[in-house]
C-alpha cells in the first residue's frame, strides 16, 4: 500500500453487513456504517455489545465471519494489521517499556524504513504536537497516565495515518485528566483532519466529542446520528433509556388522527401531536410515553399536558432539585428542576402537578417495562 | 478472500511438537520395553511378558531398597513440612529480624551443587555413624526439601490475613490454637502439597543417596543406578514404568484435591 505523506486528511470508511461470531456467540450481527472522511464517530454501547470487536475488525486483529470493510477505496477486510496503515490508541497506553519515549514514537517510522535522522525529527515533532516536547529521553514508567496516553497518541499519528482508532482510550484516567485529554483529542482531530473512531462506554464523552454516535446493543446498531438527534429523539426505547435519564409512562392509545389521544395511568387524557410518535401507532394499543426529567415543569394545572404525581422524595443537589414521585400504577417519575425553584408548598406525600412542553413528548409502541 | 494458515505458524507448530516429542518420548519409550521377553533391551521389544514386574516384586534386594526409600521419603515429608511450616510462620508473622540470614540459608541447598553436599555429608556422617542409616538419609533429604516446602507455604501464608488470628485470640484462643484452628486449615492444601514435594524429592534423590548408601542400606535410586551402570535389563524399564504411573497418580490426586478445596 503506497503511503502518501502529504495526504494528511482522513479517509472514508464503509463497513457493510459486518458479522463476527465466536462459536455460537454473535459478537457483531450485521453492522452497516458509512463514515465520511474526517468524521469523528463514537461507538457507544453497554458491555459486550460488540464495540471492541468492530474496532478489532477495522484494525485487522479479527477477521470478520462475513461482510467487508472498505477504507478509502481499498477493501481491507482480510489485510493483515501491519499493512493497513491505521493509527490506534489502546486503553492501557501500551508504550513499549524497553524503549525510550522517543523510540516508541519513532517505532512506526522505523517499521516503514524511514532513515534515523528523519525518524527522530518527526518523532520530536509529534511529541511537540501532544505538548510533550523534551520528554523523549524518558521511559514510560517515568510518565503519568495522562502523559503516557498522549505519547501513545503521538505514536499513533506520527506516520500520518488517515484513520485513528481508539478503544476506550481515556477510561484508565481519572476525571480531570480525562477532560483534558478529551480536549486534546478534539484539537488533534481538528488539526489533522483525520477520521476518528472512538469506542467508549461513557455516554457524555461520546455526546460531547463525536460528530455522530453509533449506539450498539447485542452486536446491532440501535441508532446512529448526531448527539443532538440521539438525545432529543431516540429512535427506540433502548436508546431512549440508554442515553441520559428518561421517564417512561405506560399509556393506552385511544385514537389516532390529527393528534394522538392517549390516557395516562394518573387518569389524564392528552392529545399529543402526531409528530411525537416515533413508531407508528394504532388506536387501542399500549404505548410508552417518554419524557426527560429536566423537561418537566412544576405547576400548570389545566395545561394541555399536565399530570398528577404523588411525591415521595425531594433531593437538593446544588445546581438542581430532584423530585421523585409515583403514578397510581407505581411508575416512578423523576423531575429535575433548577436549584433555585421555590417548592415551599411541596412536601413528600403531597400531590404535585407537572406539565410538559409538547415538543418534549415522545411516543413509542410497546408496553412499559 | 480469506487468508489461509500462514507458513510461519505452521513451522513454529511443527518445531514445538518435535521438541515435545523429544521431551516425552524418552519417558514413554520405557513402557513397552518393560514387557519385552529378552534379557537385554531392544526396540521394538519382542513378545510380551510380565516377568520383569514379577522379578521386581519378588526380589528381596529391590524390595528392601524400595521400602527404605518409601520410609525415608515419608519421614522426610513429615520433618520438612513441620520444620518448614514452623519457620515460614515465624518469618511471615514474626518481626523479620532474621530475614536475610533465613533467605541465604534457605537458598543455600538449592544453589550449592548436590555433589558438594553429598561429599560433605559422606565425610561427616561417617565420623558420627549416621552414614547409611535412616536418620542420616532423612536429615539430608530434609535439608534438600526444606526450600520447596517454605516456598509453597509462604505463598499461602502471605494471603492469610494476620487479623484473622488476632480476631481468634480476641475470642479467647491462645496463639497456638488460633494457628491450629484458623490459619492451618487455610494453608493446609499448600502444606500438603509441600509435603508431597518433599516426598518426591526424597524418593527420587539420587546424588546424596549415592554417597550415603552403605553396602546393606541402599535407596531405590542407588539400586537403579547400579543396575543401569552394570547390566541394563528390562527390570529398569519395569520400575521406571511403575514410577511413572505412581507420579501420574500422585499428580492427579493433588489436582483433584486442589479442585475439591477450591469448591
Amino acid at each position: 500500500m503506497a503511503m502518501n505523506r502529504e495526504q494528511t486528511a482522513g479517509a472514508s470508511i464503509r463497513i457493510s453487513r459486518l458479522e463476527k461470531r465466536f462459536g455460537n456467540v454473535s459478537a457483531v450481527d450485521g453492522v452497516d456504517i458509512d463514515i465520511s472522511a474526517g468524521e469523528f464517530l463514537a461507538l457507544l454501547g453497554p458491555s459486550g455489545s460488540g464495540k471492541t470487536t468492530i474496532l478489532m475488525s477495522l484494525a485487522g486483529f479479527e477477521f470478520p465471519t462475513a461482510g467487508n470493510i472498505v477504507i478509502g477505496s481499498e477493501d481491507l477486510t482480510y489485510v493483515p494489521a501491519n499493512k493497513r496503515n491505521l493509527g490506534m490508541v489502546f486503553q492501557n497506553y501500551t508504550l513499549f517499556p524497553h524503549m525510550s519515549i522517543l523510540d516508541n514514537v519513532a517505532f512506526p517510522l522505523k517499521m516503514r524504513g524511514v532513515a534515523k535522522p528523519e525518524r527522530y525529527a518527526r518523532a520530536e515533532e509529534a511529541l511537540a504536537t501532544v505538548r510533550l516536547a523534551g520528554y523523549g529521553e524518558r521511559f514510560s514508567s517515568q510518565l503519568s497516565g495522562g502523559q503516557q496516553q498522549r505519547v501513545a497518541l503521538a505514536r499513533a499519528i506520527v506516520y500520518r495515518p488517515r484513520v485513528l482508532l481508539m478503544d476506550e482510550p481515556l477510561s484508565a484516567l481519572d476525571k480531570n485528566l480525562r477532560e483534558d485529554m478529551q480536549l486534546e483529542i478534539k484539537r488533534l482531530h481538528a488539526e489533522l483532519g483525520i477520521t476518528v473512531i472512538f469506542v467508549t462506554h461513557d455516554q457524555s464523552e461520546a455526546l460531547t466529542m463525536a460528530d455522530r454516535v453509533a449506539v450498539l446493543k447485542d452486536g446491532r446498531i440501535q441508532q446512529i446520528g448526531p448527539s443532538r438527534e440521539l438525545y432529543e429523539r431516540p429512535a427506540n426505547l433502548f436508546t431512549a433509556g440508554f442515553i441520559g435519564e428518561m421517564n417512561f409512562i405506560g399509556v393506552t392509545v385511544e385514537s389516532v388522527g390529527e393528534a394522538i389521544a392517549v390516557s395516562l395511568p394518573s387518569g389524564e387524557h392528552w392529545n399529543v401531536p402526531s409528530t411525537s410518535a416515533v413508531d407508528p401507532l394504532q388506536a387501542g394499543q399500549k404505548a410508552v410515553l417518554a419524557v426527560r426529567p429536566e423537561r418537566l415543569q412544576i405547576g400548570g394545572e389545566g395545561a394541555a399536558f399536565a399530570f398528577h404525581v404523588k411525591l415521595a422524595d425531594i433531593v437538593y443537589a446544588g445546581s438542581a432539585l430532584l423530585l421523585i414521585g409515583h403514578l397510581p400504577d407505581g411508575t416512578e417519575i423523576r423531575a429535575r428542576l433548577p436549584g433555585a425553584s421555590d417548592l415551599s408548598t411541596l412536601t413528600p406525600g403531597a400531590t404535585a402537578v407537572f406539565s410538559v412542553p409538547k415538543e418534549a413528548i415522545l411516543l413509542y409502541a410497546g408496553g412499559a417495562k | 478472500m480469506k487468508p489461509s494458515i500462514d507458513k510461519g505458524s505452521l513451522a513454529l507448530g511443527t518445531y514445538v511438537y518435535a521438541v515435545l516429542a523429544f521431551i516425552v518420548i524418552p519417558l514413554v519409550i520405557v513402557i513397552p520395553m518393560s514387557f519385552g521377553q529378552n534379557d537385554y533391551l531392544e526396540f521394538p521389544p519382542k513378545g510380551f511378558t510380565l516377568r520383569w514386574y514379577a522379578e521386581y516384586f519378588s526380589s528381596r534386594q529391590w524390595w528392601s531398597a524400595t521400602s527404605l526409600s518409601v520410609e525415608v521419603a515419608f519421614l522426610t515429608a513429615i520433618c520438612a513440612s513441620v520444620i518448614g511450616t514452623a519457620a515460614t510462620y515465624a518469618m511471615v508473622r514474626g518481626r523479620g529480624r532474621l530475614a536475610t540470614l533465613f533467605q541465604i540459608l534457605l537458598i543455600g541447598p538449592i544453589i550449592v551443587p548436590h555433589i558438594a553436599l553429598a561429599v560433605g555429608l559422606y565425610l561427616f556422617f561417617q565420623t558420627i555413624g549416621l552414614s547409611g542409616t535412616v536418620p542420616g538419609f532423612v536429615l539430608a533429604h530434609t535439608v534438600l526439601a526444606l526450600p520447596f516446602v517454605v516456598f509453597t507455604t509462604t505463598a499461602a501464608l502471605g494471603k492469610v490475613d494476620a487479623s484473622l488470628e488476632a480476631a481468634a485470640m480476641s475470642c479467647g484462643a491462645s496463639r497456638f490454637s488460633a494457628f491450629r484452628l484458623v490459619t492451618l486449615p487455610l494453608i493446609l492444601p499448600n502444606v500438603v502439597s509441600g509435603a508431597l514435594f518433599a516426598f518426591i524429592i526424597s524418593f527420587d534423590e539420587p546424588v546424596v543417596s549415592f554417597f550415603l548408601s552403605g553396602v546393606r542400606y541402599k535407596t531405590l535410586p542407588r539400586r537403579m543406578f547400579e543396575d543401569i551402570e552394570q547390566n541394563l535389563t528390562p527390570i529398569i524399564p519395569a520400575i521406571a514404568t511403575l514410577l511413572i504411573v505412581l507420579s501420574i497418580v500422585v499428580l492427579l490426586g493433588a489436582h483433584l484435591m486442589r479442585s475439591r478445596t477450591k469448591n
Partner: protein
Amino acid sequence: MTSGIRSQFWHSDGRRLSGLSTLLLLLPFFAIIAFVFVYPIGQLLWISFTEPKPTLDNYARVVTNPVYARVLLRTLWTAVLVTGLCVILGFPVAYYMSRARAAVAAFVGVCVILPLWSSVLVRTAAWSFLLQRQGLVNSGLMATGITSEPLKLLYTQSAVVVAMAHVLLPFMILPIFGALRSIPDDYMRAAAVLGAPRFRTFLEVILPLSLPGIASGSLLVFLTALGFFITPALLGSPQELMIATLVSQQIREVLDWPFASALVGVLTLFVTLLALIFSKTLRFDRLMGAQ
C-alpha cells in the same frame, strides 16, 4: 525504648509473634541447616585449605595439572552447550505455549512439567536405552540410511549434553514462559498496527521483553549443569570426566580427600559467586524441584 523492645521479645501483640516464639519456631530450621548443610560443606572447605598443612596447593593442582584443568574446561563447555541447547529447544515451546488457546497451552504445559515428576534416573536410563548400539536412535539412523552401521552414541560427551538438556529443559521453559505470559497481548497488537510484520514484532518487542526470563532460565540451567553427577556418571565416557564425576572418582577410588575437597571448593565457590552476582536475575521462588 528498651522496655518496648524487651516486651516485644516476650509478648506477641496479636498480629506479630513475640521474639521468643519466633526464635523457638526457627530453631529447628537453623539447627538442621547448620548441622546438615553449613557444617559439612564448611568442613570440606576447611580440609581443602589446611591438609596436609595450611596451603593453597590443592587448588593449585586443580588449575595447573592439565588433566584436571581439562576437566574444568569440559565441565564449563558442557554447561554452556546444555544451556544453549535448552534455549534453542525451549524458547519456541515457551512462546507457543504463551500464545496458544487455553486447552493447547495446558497440554503443552503438562508435557513440559511431566518430566519434573519422574526421577532423573528414569530419564537417564531412558537415554541409555535410546542411545545404545541396538537402541532406537541407531535403528532410526540406519533405517533412514544415514549410517550403515550402528554409531557409538552412548558413553560420549554428546550423549551427556543431550540427556542433560532433556533433564534441564523444564527449568528453561518455565521462566521464559513466565516472562512471555506477562507481556500483554496489546503490545503485539500495538506493534502490528504501527506497521511491524510478525517477525519484526518478535524481534523488537517480544524478544527484548522476554530477556529476563531467558536470563533467569539460562542461569538456572547453567549453574545446575555445572554440578551434574548422575547423567555424566551413567552416560559419559570414563575418559571424559566432568567435575562431579572426578570428585566421585577421587573419593571412592583414589581416596584423596584434600584434593577432592578442593574440587568441591572450586565448584561450590564458583557457583555461589555466580548466584550472588546474578541474584537479581535468578528468581529463587520460581524453582520447583531441581537436579
